[in-house]
Every structure is written in structure tokens, then in C-alpha cells.
Amino acid sequence: MSTVVPAVPEPAARAAQSPFARIASDFVANPVAVFGLVLLALIVAAAVFAPLISPQNPYDLAQLDVMDSKLPPGSKSPNGGTFWLGTDDQGRDMLSAIFYGLRISLMVGAASTVLALLVGLTMGLTAAYLGGRIETLIMRIVDIQLSFPAILIALILIAVLGQGTGKVIAALVTIQWAYYARTVRSAALVEKRKEYMEAARCLALSPARIVFRHLLPNCLPPMIVVATVQVAAAIALEATLSFLGLGLPITEPSLGLLIANGYQYLLSGKYWISFFPGVALLATIVSINLVADQLRDVLNPRLSR
């Protein structure tokens, strides 16, 4: 970034800061990114505290009344409350359903990202560190996989694995590990030639120690950026699969399923059943993308455009 922001300390002072403090101060320099971060924090908080802040428990059938079904936003509920975002076909409060749906969408997104990150890191580092035939094999698989669109691979996997939360996560991991493997390998290949790696080898440290204590930490910045983008991609993909009726089970509706649920009522003008879960999904994806965009600039000046 060429523009000088007064809030950022001078180079001499910056060196004394811890890397985390420097990253944090660079991050807040962009108000749009801060907005994204705040929005994301609110969304995560809504998901985590869903049972506390939701007006009703959308899974508890005893709290639902079919008489309340398909009420427009702002309608009064019989027990004195208000359905701020309306109700769905089973008389479920949409606001509560969205909070609980967010929970599931975020959980699936986060779980698949963490697992894919672990698999991708291991494969990528193995490829870069060992080289030779193993590297060729791993990278060939990555290349082939990345030449097909994610949605297609996801559908194949779901067709093969069947449906269910665990299987959707498995499918997302299978799709996403390739992105991490490719990123970490290219980062590791650059780092491998640096002097500190040579020094570590001269000290006769064990390969595991070299890879995990020396190589890995230096490959992390680009990985964090890719991981942030991929969380958003995972959430969007899960929503798409659920919308197509091939994702999560209907008993615990994620945002995608809520949207699919409202599809049939859309044509009769009852827009809110699909519209608001979609807004929640959109806000989640946009906020993550905004944070990722800024992280990219902060963590790696070479990548910034």
C-alpha cells in the first residue's frame, strides 16, 4: 500500500511490534474491511448464541402452530411476540430459523475448512519437501481435480457418498484440499531454498521438526488467505447442495434448505421465506470475502493488485 496512513507507525517502530500487532494495525486501516469483520463477528455471534436470542426454538414442534404458517414479516404471534421476518409453511419464525440455520451453515463451512486445511497442508508440504515421484503424483491429482468445477465434483461425490451432514463435509474436504495443497506447495518451494532452511538441515534436525517448526510457519500467510476465501466458498457450496436437495438432512435445515423451502411459495408472492435466509447467506459470504480481501493485502504485499 503506497498511501501513508497516519495510524500506521513508522518503519522503526513497526519492527519493534509483534507481527500480530502489525497485522492488526494494517487491517484496521481499511474501513470496508473493518465493516466486514464487524458484520462477520455479529453473524458468528448470532449463530453461536442462537438458542439464547431466538424468539422460539425452530426444532421444537410443540412451539409451532400451523395456524401461524406463512405470515408476512411483522405479524403478531398469538403469544404476544412479533414475527419480524414472517413465518414459513409450518408456522416457524423465520428469524429463529435463520439463526439456527446460520449455526449449521457456519459449522459445516468451518469444519470442512479445518479438515481440508489439514489434509491440504500435509499433502502440499509432503510434495514440496520430498519432491520426486510423490510430488508428481500429488500435484497431478491436484491439477486434474482443479480442472473441474467444484460444483460438479461435489455432485459426483454426493451421488456416490449419499446424503447427510458428515458426507457433505467429506465432499467439501475432498474438493478443497487441492487448493491448499497447491498454495502451500508453491510457498514451500520458495521457502525451501532460503538460508534458514539450509541452516536447519545443517543442524541435523529431524525432517518432521524442519517441516513443522521451520517450513510450516513461514508458509502460513498465504494459507490463511486461501482458507478465508474457501470458508465462504464452502458455505456457498453447501447452501447450493442443500438447495438442490442433495445436502443436509431436512431435520436440521441450513440456510440453503430454508431457501429451497420457500421456493414453492415464491410464485404466490410469499417472498420472505426465501428472501431473508438468502440475505443472511449473502451477508455471511460478503463479510468473509471482505475480510479475506484485506487479509490478502495485509499478509502478502506481493499478491495485492
Partner: protein, 317 residues
């Protein structure tokens, strides 16, 4: 050669995987049917044989262009997919056209005036285009243009006409065209955002190059500098991406087709997965993998035709 291996491995993986799930008999046969009827049906579908034998039968058929018969429709799976293909192709081509016709000029504009209001608005719009989930945008398009305004139909293909007396297409009649508008726009949005970003980045880069400065120093008009010098140089990556993205448009058509009930191959795939119509699933995947391999090949050829550097390097080597 590699592509043949990929095709073979895919067929094996998908075949084994698809055949490992569920039991299509449960869905296809009337639950009241007695044991003898069940067994007759199982034998008729070839499901009584061991898996490896089923695969060999399939492979033998595949080499002669026979990818098995659909359990549900009782017609050849390949034929079923091929009859649905024109609808998907029409949708994909229409979407790509929208993306190219709008994306390149908008990207060029944003690249020429990166700090102007219009440039910033275009970029913000493209970020939104990346973030919006396709299926939800589809629903919103239906909500606004079909339900609220009532301008455009929300589902189906409308009447089709034969193009060259062979291929049924929608775009030749007003009615068909009106059915095409919403799904094609929906499918185009993501690619539109991508093309805008790509064109903008290319434009900004090439504006700083010496040949642009030289062209300006020669006193050429602005239109000529941009139209000939800038545009021609950014066309190479753009054409590559358009080609490669065409495959992904066909894949993403699965979602759009489901939203707009567009009778293409993607909708067929979703229906087949739900009905466990194994031969159709396997055939669809093999068709689409073949399609991808062909597209990649065509892009490679186009690339060397467009980029003199690649052409010269090949001539030398």
C-alpha cells in the same frame, strides 16, 4: 493420452461409487410386487451379476458408444443425455454471450478510469457478483421479473424451433427468447463478474506498457490506442478464460436449470440422482468429462493461434 486415463479412472471410480449406494430396486419396483417379480426385474436390469462383471459389461458397451439403459426411462442413457444437451448448450452459450458482451466493455471502462465513480461502482458490483449464490439470485430474478412485474416467464423453455432442421432451440421465437432471458442472465452473472475483473486488470497493466506510450507518442487517437493496442493484447488471456470457463458454465447450469426448471442435462442429473438412475448418472459424468477434455484441447489450440509467442516457440522447438 492423459485424458484417456482420466476418462477411464473416472468411469471406474464413478461406476463403483454410484453402484455402491442405495438400491434402485426399492424405488423402481412396486412395493407390493412379490419375490419372483423382484428377481425378474433385478435380472432384467443386470443387477444380479457381481459388480466387476457389471463394470465389464458397461465398459464393453461404452467402447461401442452404449452407456447402458436408463432404469427409469428404459431408453439408452446416452441418447437421453444427448436429447437434453441442446437445451443446456443454448443456455450456456447465451450466458457466455451476455457475460462477454457486457463484461469486456465494463471491464475496459473500469480499467481506463479506475478511480472514477463508474469504475468503483463496476468493481463493487463485480464483488457482489462473486459473492451472490447463483441459486438465490435465480430466485430473486423470478421474484422480481415473474411474480412482481410479471414481465418474463419463470420456468421451462417455451416453444422450441428446429435450427438447421436438427437442433431444437428456444431463441428463434419471441416466446422462447423470453423464457431464455432470466436463466441466461442468472448463469451469466458469475462469469460477468470474472470477465470484468480480468479485463480491468489487463487494461490497467497494458496501459503502463511501452507500446501504449509509444502509440500515444505517435499521436494516434485514443480510440485507436484502446481499440487496437490495448484490446488486442488483453484478448489473449480473456479468450483463454472464456474457453475454460465455458465448461464451468455447463456445470453451473445444473443449478440454474433446477431453479428455472430448464429441461437440460443438469436437471436430468439431479432427477437421476434423486431416483438412483445409475446408468444416467454415470453416462452424464462421462459425457461431461469428455466435454471438458475437448474444451481444454480447443482452448490450447486457440491459445497458440492467438498468441504469436506461443506459436513462434512451437515453430522453433
Amino acid at each position: 493420452m492423459q485424458s484417456v486415463v482420466v476418462l477411464f479412472v473416472m468411469s471406474l471410480l464413478v461406476f463403483v461409487g454410484v453402484y455402491a449406494i442405495g438400491n434402485p430396486i426399492d424405488i423402481l419396483i412396486n412395493p407390493q410386487a412379490d419375490q419372483i417379480d423382484r428377481e425378474r426385474a433385478i435380472a432384467a436390469l443386470g443387477l444380479d451379476k457381481p459388480l466387476w462383471e457389471q463394470y465389464l459389461v458397461f465398459l464393453k458397451g461404452a467402447l461401442t458408444g452404449d452407456l447402458g439403459r436408463s432404469f427409469v426411462h428404459a431408453t439408452p442413457a446416452l441418447g437421453l443425455i444427448l436429447t437434453r444437451m441442446p437445451a443446456t448448450m443454448e443456455l450456456a452459450i447465451a450466458a457466455m454471450l451476455i457475460a462477454v458482451v457486457l463484461g469486456i466493455p465494463l471491464g475496459l471502462w473500469a480499467g481506463l478510469k479506475p478511480n472514477g465513480v463508474a469504475g468503483r461502482t463496476i468493481m463493487a458490483g463485480s464483488i457482489l457478483g462473486f459473492s451472490l449464490p447463483t441459486f438465490w439470485v435465480g430466485l430473486m430474478l423470478i421474484m422480481v421479473f415473474s411474480v412482481m412485474l410479471g414481465w418474463l416467464p419463470s420456468n421451462g423453455r417455451g416453444p422450441t424451433m428446429l435450427l438447421f432442421g436438427l437442433v431444437p432451440v428456444s431463441f428463434l421465437s419471441w416466446e422462447g427468447l423470453s423464457h431464455l432471458v432470466l436463466p441466461a442472465t442468472n448463469l451469466a452473472l458469475f462469469k460477468l463478474a470474472l470477465l470484468i475483473r480480468l479485463t480491468r486488470a489487463g487494461t490497467r497493466e497494458s496501459l503502463l506498457q511501452d507500446y501504449v506510450k509509444f502509440a500515444r507518442a505517435k499521436g494516434l487517437s485514443n480510440a485507436r490506442v484502446i481499440g487496437v493496442h490495448v484490446l488486442r493484447n488483453i484478448m489473449i488471456p480473456i479468450v483463454t478464460v472464456i474457453g475454460l470457463e465455458f465448461g464451468s458454465v455447463i456445470a453451473f447450469a445444473i443449478v440454474t436449470e433446477s431453479v428455472f426448471a430448464w429441461p437440460g442435462m443438469g436437471k436430468l442429473l439431479i432427477d437421476s440422482i434423486n431416483l438412483l438412475d445409475r446408468p444416467v448418472i454415470v453416462a452424464y459424468l462421462l459425457v461431461i468429462v469428455t466435454l471438458f477434455i475437448v474444451i481444454n484441447l480447443v482452448v490450447d489450440v486457440l491459445y497458440s493461434a492467438l498468441d504469436p509467442r506461443v506459436r513462434l516457440a512451437e515453430a522453433k522447438g
